[in-house]
Subunit: 96 residues, 2 copies
Amino acid sequence: MNDVFKALSDPTRREVLRLLKSGPRSAGDLADAFPVSRPTMSAHFNVLRGAGLVSTEKAGKSVIYHLNVSVLEEALLGFAGAFGLGTGVPPVSPPE
Amino acid sequence: MNDVFKALSDPTRREVLRLLKSGPRSAGDLADAFPVSRPTMSAHFNVLRGAGLVSTEKAGKSVIYHLNVSVLEEALLGFAGAFGLGTGVPPVSPPE
DNA sequence: ATGATATTTAGCTAATCATCTAATTGATGT
DNA sequence: ACATCAATTAGATGATTAGCTAAATATCAT
């Protein structure tokens, strides 16, 4: 889970996830959406994959990235939930 | 909001927030809960304060740290919400 | 005013990070 | 086989980060 928060700490990576929300995309397609080099984007993809936030699938010359929503959900809501946020169900003492 | 995610990327800082969830605590009291030096903890506090996640109040010799839940909520659920997580209300196209 | 206590700032270091260019790998088409 | 295109790895660099010790600041008590 630390890896997930580390991954989320970079705005480029958060934006990649947001783009992936609308559906799978190739590495180059994703890279085109950012003003940095492809190798740099590749490094960001590695961090996201290391955190389990995305999965890859080979399609010819391309590599398709998929968003793993469940991993995002588990980390984000898991943490938020510890503060009584997001679920509607407080963690310790319900506000009577 | 980037500052918030940057702040959350460190496990020590996330734990500080979790401790603060149960109520305000002094700097030294918080520092005692971690195996690092006080100056190091002070630096972590600065990051959390810079992100707006905590506020301070002076009380005699001590400095009391308060958790700003609203800031955490806005960032965390704001981001999660963009993925249809946490609110029960999907972000773009509601499942009819 | 002196001393003790709580916290922060200053200054340093080692490690990590985001970025780049150049080179490599892998797949497709001619 | 060769050229081309997509993506990654290698290797380097400058910036940021988390950590430390030592020194400074602020408050309280004597």
